[in-house]
Symmetry: D2
Subunit: 296 residues, 4 copies
């Protein structure tokens, strides 16, 4: 059965390649077509429009940068909504808003199409190694049909629940937890630096004891080095995600003051000239606010 | 050489026992003497006063609940300061303020006594198993003399630097990071519960992926259960510690807005009737603020 | 020249009546027509559709509850945009988002129609007494043509600048300042009540000295009384406005942490059961967070 | 009856002069004696020690910069506590902590001395013009005896209650409200500047409408001018006061998140190089955080 993959950024291209290499019949499309051409070597069918890519597909995966890109691919004339066959499945795997996910579920449902949300956790290297974690939500029978696809992309799939947007909430909450770790490390590293303690020794201590999780190692190293370029994810991407978290929380009347703090610090970081740095440079903001110079 | 142990709370009694069982010549003292009597079975010499306990000791360890208790044991008439022999070492192992640690260093120094700070990370079970992590700071040669003691108490010692208060800063910053995790989990669990997602599945997902550290497991389980009694540490103990963090930060002009947020939430939790619950019940506060009922 | 007034809520009906009594030729429309009928006594022409009301008008005033209502009246088929004559003026007087105001300016401009924003400050009693303050922005010549209208409605008009959305920013920032006063008073009244000080004496002291402004008197009295019903403005109206402030600030990368604090407190107030109380009941939240009982 | 005045800073010297000119028999003392000499022209008796100044006094007024100065004057050997006659009154008029005020009440009480707290509101010009506002608390009969003194210093006295520390709480809460106004204005001025609106026109609008209180005029002008030098009160004085507010609130378990926000912003302002500017330069911090340059 044909699997169509829309969106070939750093994450998407690695994921599409894994599907192709697992033997699936893959059709790919990307706004910038040259990216799609790279996948011909793995037997991809390259399509020049969303409509051509979607026609006849059993599964359409969207892996695009933001709500606007996904909305355009789905709702524009010739888009997924218009073209997808009844009974076929739209798997939304990128980070989108809860509101859009609910809209997608409703609109696909009206046309007898299936919709599941299955956002992923992991960086491009994890995507390339098929080591992503996948949080999937939607109709159980449909998810079961999708499982071979998930197996080709990730190391483990977590089924969250029957409402697709639940998976988007999980993804957003996970990013929130990452931002919280960065903010907390930023403040604590500023504190210990003011007392003359070496930040590398500090991070080594933390990650050897109570804070052994990957996220502390990854961001602890960046913050101890005070090295935010090249940016893995630029500040505005972080800001977009924390806004999605806050938006999801507002929709259910849940205050998240720590998310508000992170959001305001990201805006401040932009105002302070860190727009092109990695989003973890909110830790540099914490250092500067404590009167510490940037490290050379 | 005689090792004197002052303070036999949940942590202290386990630590003192490990020193005795490692073959050290131990003298113990506690405000409530009956606790000290328990250690006679391990060949402890039980002392009825700080002065008697300290006289002739090569090392005096303080493991007391707060600044006031340590100050009283050290500075009162007949206290450690008056009684400790020149060249002997005061090892301060409980969580005290940076300001007090600096004062202790100065006062011991004036009398030719040594002072090191070596606060520990771990709960009573870790103390019993001699699996504590120890953050030690002070004069390098003195720390080397203390190493056999640390070896009997913990699984690993991290030498932080030459100023004793550096170790206290490390300890306080570690507690701050724990509080940050609790606050972040509290907010995110409230969010996902509002979307009908099961909190146990959520915590399982987190701790199986990016957030595998012990602290997420320990507190994630408590928060998913919404079970804050019996309290491992009551709210006011948390409040005391976050105040010490803020005090240490203020002393070096470092703003820590996340610490302020946690502090205000702890005060609010007390105002909302959670004074006798575990400090992690700030997560229940987050749930209640989102309009969620306490779980049965 | 015909003046058309769309939106006859508590504020709008008083404003429309003042225009009619000042001798203007007024046509009125309201979603609930019965409200419009009340104005026949003042010689209003009552219209049964936006299109009929707008046709032939020199000025159309919108005074509606939110972005959605204004958008619908303007952009729907038969709406203001379609019906207003070139050269005529749309005066937007209610509290709307900066984003919508910019869109309105652009769309009217494309059709040779004029658009100015002129939001008002004041409660219904001030509207009835023609004592509103008006913050007006847009093309200077057009504002001059509108001045007789403003004179019939308010005690003073402030011309803010040439971009219509500037007036909306002013309005939103003013509401933000009001919310800030409420939050500050809420926290300080909780503090003094904990010390056994009478809140009425306290408010009297404040408003007799440095804090003599009307906003301190109005809200100080409500907070000292701890009386939030009947609600002048319900909590969700406040929440809507603080979101508009934050949205306007986000659009220009301006962090407003105090606005974030107020927003989170309003959400918390809703979670704590204050949805139907006046928005100033965030002050009750502050009291409850300090462990104070609601007053009888 | 002899009135002794301790502490002749900008405020104290003006106050002492008013007492002398009102015909009171005044003895003055100041750490830097030259300041005291200035008052000889007004018939002051100048004393070279606290003890000499206090001996035989019916009233001793303290008007000193902080807790430490007051504590030293009162509790040191030869201090007020040792020297003041039973039945005489210590009137504490400067901004001190609630904790110190309680201690003073207790210690004076043990010696049969009276103690009232009567902090003042107003700047040096108001002190010179005898236009201060006085918040007085303590035993009613004692306050009545003090009234002629208050009348010589201020335009109005507010009796707050029977516990002296109540007046200190009032003073601190008043400063908190001032800081809140500055923070709110700082954020809103940054917002409107981002939209190209003139800040002077904005402040004129605010203070002509809902925000007519002196505090908005005074600080609005400073913020619109972006002119924080010369500093009326330097940043660390503001920081000291907001800490006293937070300390008073902590003592009664009252969270004050807006006070925490102001505190952290003051610390950040210091870290950002604004230590020598007026405390209202937290508004410049808000502007810089929004990416606005300092005005020339």
């Amino acid at each position: 059965m044909k699997i169509t993959f829309l969106g070939l950024g750093n994450m998407g291209i690695a994921m599409a390649r894994n599907l192709l290499r697992a033997g699936h019949d893959g059709t790919v499309w990307n706004r910038t077509l040259s990216k799609a051409e790279e996948l011909r070597a793995d037997n991809a069918t390259v399509s020049d429009s969303v409509a051509n890519a979607t026609r006849g597909a059993g599964f359409v995966i969207t892996m695009m940068s933001d709500d606007q890109a996904v909305s355009s691919a789905v709702f524009d004339a010739g888009g997924v909504l218009e073209t997808l066959a009844p009974g076929a499945v739209h798997i939304s795997m990128s980070t989108i808003s809860v509101a859009l996910s609910k809209t997608l579920a409703a609109e696909h449902g009206k046309r007898g199409q299936h919709y599941v949300a299955a956002p992923v956790f992991g960086r491009p290297e994890a995507a390339a190694a098929a080591k992503l974690f996948i949080a999937a939500a939607g109709d159980a029978a449909v998810l079961e049909r999708c499982q071979p696809i998930f197996d080709a992309l990730g190391q483990r799939t977590f089924v969250i629940g029957p409402q697709p947007e639940m998976a988007n909430v999980i993804k957003l909450s996970g990013n929130f937890l990452i931002f919280s770790v960065i903010e907390a490390l930023g403040e604590s590293v500023a504190l210990i630096r003011k007392y003359g303690i070496d930040p590398h020794a500090y991070i080594d201590f933390l990650t050897s004891t109570l804070f052994s999780a990957p996220v502390y190692k990854t961001y602890g190293a960046i913050i101890a080095d005070d090295r935010y370029q090249p940016a893995g994810f630029k500040m505005r991407l972080g800001l977009k995600d924390v806004r999605l978290v806050i938006g999801a929380a507002e929709a259910v009347d849940a205050p998240m003051p720590l998310a508000s703090l992170v959001r305001d610090n990201m805006l401040t970081a932009i105002g302070r000239g860190m727009e092109d740095l990695d989003w973890s440079s909110v830790a540099r903001l914490a250092a500067e606010n404590a009167g510490l110079p940037a490290k050379k």
